[in-house]
Amino acid sequence: MNNEMRIDMLRGMMRIRAFEEKIQELYLAGYIPGSMHLSTGQEAIPVGCCMCLREGDYLMSSHRGHGHVLAKGGEYKYMMAELYGKKTGYSRGKGGSMHFAHVAIGVLGTNGIVGGGIPIAAGVGFASKYLESDRVVVCFFGDGAAETGAFHEGLNFAAVLQVPVIYIIENNQYAISVPRKLSDRLEDLSVRAAAYGMPGETVDGNDVVAVYDAAKRAVERARAGGGPALIECKTYRWHGHHAGEPRDGLVYRKQEEIDSWKEKCPIRRLKTQLLEEQVVTEADIDAMQRGFQQELEEAVAFANESPYPDESDLLRDVYIAEE
């Protein structure tokens, strides 16, 4: 792993963290409507995975999708505008956090239905195979999603079709308040790969390099026609299930548990390493951070100044006019 890549990884994770922290602040201050799910603490996964992707590759996301969109190249300002419900947002204000999409960069949507993207991703992969392109699909979802029928049918069909889809479980130990032990009897969710005859692997989801390595193997195999794979990344969300959740997740989690995972912060981990190895300096990192803050302020200004959709947009894009 060369240093440049590791710096990119750090930058990518910091970029997500900065976004999540800013929008949380804005949300709690009442500037952002609706509900949204922060991925603070889970940044290594989208960054590690998306660094294996090429421009034309596809991404399907979940309800906890800001990090995915950012890692694939989403821009603060259009995301912010969407979160504000403005016409200049990625989904023209129609979608909000749960329905971000940016098709031009391959982001085929976050999803408000847990597990909803999993079978869809199989089909996107099929299109890629059918059209003899080498575009791969990365599909992110939570541990809870792995308990849905959509997961089973989607992974099995992907395996039967041998399509280039990499399924990534972001196992953050909970589905809202329900802990893993009430959700299934497994230690590692990646054992389920065997149920579909596809390769499966569990990695430390807070180690961006480990995520990258596993994803890279899977992406290369998929691109070469080797079919889908399942990767489980063990991680933790620092905050409540959604922004503004009462007691920010403490109703069903212990402070010690949260603290112990914060110790394993994926950003601090890489940062410490890079600093120790003198690959970056504190000043470099501060500069990055300032850059993000600056960009975020511009994004907020953009969102603020952008117009809301017109009332006439309500019935627009329900149907496409027939020729």
Partner: protein, 323 residues
């Protein structure tokens, strides 16, 4: 009399039934420690323990399917699906099993199960968390469909639902859970299939469900000042449906508006309109006007959502068409 919220009224009914019938238990996502996404099951796990108040995996098919099985095995499950929007994920269990088992096995088995679901648009939750398509449950034979609008009705009807040997879809509207009203502390039931005239009037019959019932009352009060006398009727259960109460009112007023938050086409407003057009047309002095949700998915952006959700304004416009 004591005033409590609709949420508290439901909680009280659950507690009573759990106390008085060992066969009653509850399961669903996050109904335990978290007390449910809308707080209806708050505190129950402390009183009744995790064997009777059960947090489930993120598996709607299993939640409903195993609920049916538990009912067949002699229990009386009260099952929660967090949002009506997630029922399409378990629709087979509802439509092909829950609704039909009693009939297709010639009356041998009973499915005394209550399926509690939350309906309605509120708080910019966008297309996949704002729906109200319970008319589908009315369409499919075999299900009871209950739609209370007040705390009093909610408690009485939930008691009736849990006592019923039929499968019941119990619909709770987001915009009503915090509404307060008088509720006796004692146990009582309200029969299915009995509408209630919530306000008497002589000029227009306004049939309205759930959140729109409250809007209807407000509009009716305002228009009183303008000397328009509106009779507001709440069907309370959509199946069985009390058409007599509505027919009697139409006989008196000659004018009918139906307000229901479902989408218009093939929704409950259409059904009530058709019932009257079939049996009471000679009493009508004007068109039957439907108030419902426009024919689009629910948009995220606040001004669009506002335009999307039917309420007082839409009722007023409907009235204008008749006077």
């Amino acid at each position: 009399m004591r005033q409590i919220s609709l949420r508290e009224a439901l909680n009280e009914s659950l507690r009573y039934n759990l106390q008085h019938d060992e066969r009653v238990f509850c399961w669903g996502e996050d109904i335990g420690v978290l007390g449910g996404a809308f707080g209806v099951t708050a505190g129950l796990i402390d009183e009744f323990g995790p064997m009777r108040i059960i947090d489930t995996p993120l598996s709607e098919i299993a939640i409903v399917g195993a609920g049916i099985g538990a009912a067949l095995g002699g229990l009386r499950p009260v099952v929660e699906i967090m949002y009506i929007d997630f029922t399409p994920g378990c629709m087979d269990m509802i439509v092909n099993q829950m609704a039909k088992i009693h009939y297709m096995f010639g009356g041998q088995c009973r499915v005394p199960m209550v399926l509690r679901i939350v309906t309605g648009a509120m708080g910019e939750n966008a297309a996949q968390h704002s729906q109200s398509f319970y008319s589908f449950f009315v369409h499919v034979p075999g299900l009871i469909v209950v739609t209370p609008s007040t705390p009093y009705d909610a408690k009485g009807l939930l008691n009736t639902s849990i006592a019923s040997d039929n499968p019941v879809i119990f619909v709770e509207h987001k915009r009503t859970v915090n509404i307060k009203g008088e509720v006796p502390e004692d146990h009582y039931t309200i029969p299915f299939g009995k509408a209630e005239v919530k306000r008497e009037g002589t000029d227009i019959t306004l049939v309205a469900t759930q959140a729109l019932m409250h809007d209807a009352l407000k509009v009716a009060e305002d228009l009183e000042k303008e000397h328009v006398s509106i009779e507001v009727i709440d069907p309370r259960t959509l199946k069985p449906f009390d058409k007599e109460t509505i027919f009697q009112s139409v006989e008196k007023t000659g004018r009918l508006i139906v307000a229901d938050e479902g989408w218009i086409h093939c929704g409950m407003a259409s059904e009530i309109s058709a019932l009257v057009a079939e049996e009471m047309i000679t009493y009508l002095d004007g068109p039957i006007v439907r108030v419902g949700t426009p024919d689009s998915p629910c948009p995220f952006s606040p001004p669009l959502e506002k335009a999307y959700i039917p309420g007082e304004e839409e009722i007023r416009e409907a009235i204008k068409k008749l006077i």
